[in-house]
């Protein structure tokens, strides 16, 4: 799956959330998008799977503009795991995961769909939840079920919006490990929005750090997680140490923001370097 994002601009009425975002991902990779709240991470993800239509620019999946594809066609290629899901009338776990087969199947559910779903439940080790009602599950279990639903779409690109936000540390590691394995064994391209710097640093192949609707920096965790970047993007004084082979961010203090945008005065890496690292041929 090749994903190319060209100069995407998206505004909610007068508020510009994405400002000329460019991204080029050519191979299966574990990509994490980071950045403070409201920086446009989720909006970018929604532009990729056609939930939102950017005002300018295009998103290309294997050279086809997603806006020219039908919703079902996109759903067959791009799986999506939302942040959280509440259902007023909850279904069982099996039925919830079977929804992931919706873009592939017709009116009825066939044996093959059920095979795929049970296979995924086994893989995620949540078979015992199969007949439970979705709303009776713990936050972590719900998250796993939603991941299972995303996988049931049998996508080539899997988008996840903070999938580990509700999980305890063990489940966080499990999910990240699983996503990493999916990238390698099934050649999936995984794009995940995350808030956890250190978990991301451990597992991501490519980290994209966003600020003010733009890609501020991108590269390997080692390249992106620098004290300067964290100060500029998050307004946080931090120390970056190396744990094993990966960087580990120790937050020290929140910097005082005098007025809107003042943090940006503390200059980190410029966007140009980020773009250079995002070139498809650039070794990561």
């Amino acid at each position: 799956m090749k994903l190319k994002i060209n100069d995407v601009v998206f505004s909610y009425s007068s508020l510009k959330v994405l400002d000329s975002v460019c991204l080029d991902l050519n191979e299966s990779k574990f990509v994490c998008i980071l950045g403070p709240n409201g920086v446009g991470k989720s909006t970018l993800v929604h532009c990729i799977n056609r939930i939102l239509k950017p005002q300018e620019g295009v998103v290309l999946l294997d050279q086809t503009n997603v806006q020219d594809m039908g919703l079902k066609e996109v759903a067959r290629k791009v799986g999506y795991v939302p942040q959280a899901s509440t259902d007023m009338f909850p279904l069982t776990v099996v039925d919830t995961v079977l929804m992931g087969r919706h873009p592939h199947s017709g009116w009825s559910t066939n044996e093959a769909d059920l095979d795929i779903v049970t296979g995924i439940l086994s893989m995620l080790e949540i078979e015992d939840l199969a007949m439970r009602s979705f709303d009776e599950l713990s936050a972590g279990q719900k998250q796993k079920v939603l991941i299972a639903r995303g996988l049931a779409q049998e996508p080539q690109l899997l988008l996840l919006d903070e999938p580990t936000s509700n999980l305890d540390i063990r489940h966080q590691l499990e999910v990240m490990e699983l996503l990493g394995e999916l990238v390698r064994s099934r050649k999936l391209l995984v794009v995940m929005v995350s808030h956890d710097l250190n978990i991301t640093a451990r597992y991501a192949d490519l980290v994209i750090m966003m600020k003010g609707g733009k890609i501020f920096d991108a590269g390997t965790p080692e390249q992106v997680f620098t004290e300067n970047n964290i100060r500029s993007v998050y307004g946080v004084e931090a120390q970056v140490v190396t744990a094993g082979t990966k960087p580990y961010v120790v937050p020290l203090a929140a910097l005082k923001i005098k007025k809107e945008g003042a943090v940006s005065d503390i200059v980190g890496i410029e966007g140009s370097l980020a773009m250079e690292r995002l070139e498809p041929d650039h070794a990561l």
Partner: protein, 372 residues
Amino acid sequence: MTSSPAPGTRSSRISMFSAFKGRNEVSIKGQYRSYLFRKFLFMMGCGILVVIISGISATLGSYDLDFLDVYQVIFNHILNWGEPETVKVFVVWQLRLPRIIMGIVAGFGLAIAGAAMQGIMKNPLADPYTTGISAGAGFGAAIAIILGLGLGAGEYAIIINAFLFSLIPTFIIIGLTRFRKPTPSMMVLAGIATMYIFTAMTSLFMISADPNSVQAVYIWTVGTLDKASWSSIPIVFAVMVLGSLFLQGMAKNLNVMGMGDAGAKSLGVNVERSRVLILVVISLMTAAIVSFTGVIGFIGLVSPHVVRIFLGSDNKFLLPASGLFGAALLLGADAVARTIIAPTILPVGIITAFIGGPLFLYLIMQRKKEVW
């Protein structure tokens, strides 16, 4: 990754992803099948209940007939079609059956429409009248009854007026979708707004109307099966069958839409279009029923909730089962309405509210969850 991962590791589990035939998987499928089977059994039970209540209902009245007589008369009459009608045949076929069939059709239609409305609104309080259909129909009927204004003559003026006016709130909502996204809250609020407008206009006419007309309007707004006749059944039946088939076809979309708009779009469902389409079909079905029976409440609200307790919320099963349960409930309520202070026949809407209200309170008390 190595080509042969160690057993039990996550990589080995992933490699089994599509071809896994383990014990657990078989047991999941077994459990799922028996779960589906239970749903079929419940639906069959509801179907049988409809047949039984229909039979009992046909025995009620001043002419004595027993349960078996009723079905014998029906079968004989169908087998010997065209033969002169005996008194028994006349009582069953002309006096009692139209009412029963209208009860089945209206109960089924209102309940399936209620289930679908709760689905698109993602709101357990929704019913077929949520978007203002009942208020529109009430106003249409009121101007036909009070002012004698309407398309068609006599009884038909009321029916046609009620039908046309009941669709106005839906048209208003569709018009609003040009400016606003058709979200559930927008639809509900627009429905409440049009409901107030129509209710106010109806009240205005009723204040200045003569007492007989006011009573007629009032009875109409409570809902009754009294006016059921063979001539009115085909049109309601046809609308109900087509509408139900359409809603059944949208059942999977409804399931997916329950998980939120973004989630549903990411699974390939055009949420806005589906929601408006389903609303239009619900409105047509409800309008067709209401224009012949008046506003029968509670069936469309209560039936889906009762069915959810037994079947869960999968719309593929919830819709038809709600329909069957609604038919049984309306028939039962009508049987009570005809017998409780016989020979006076109460409007069935009063009984559905009397049965539905306490039943609903009981169910709410039984459940710990917000919905079931």
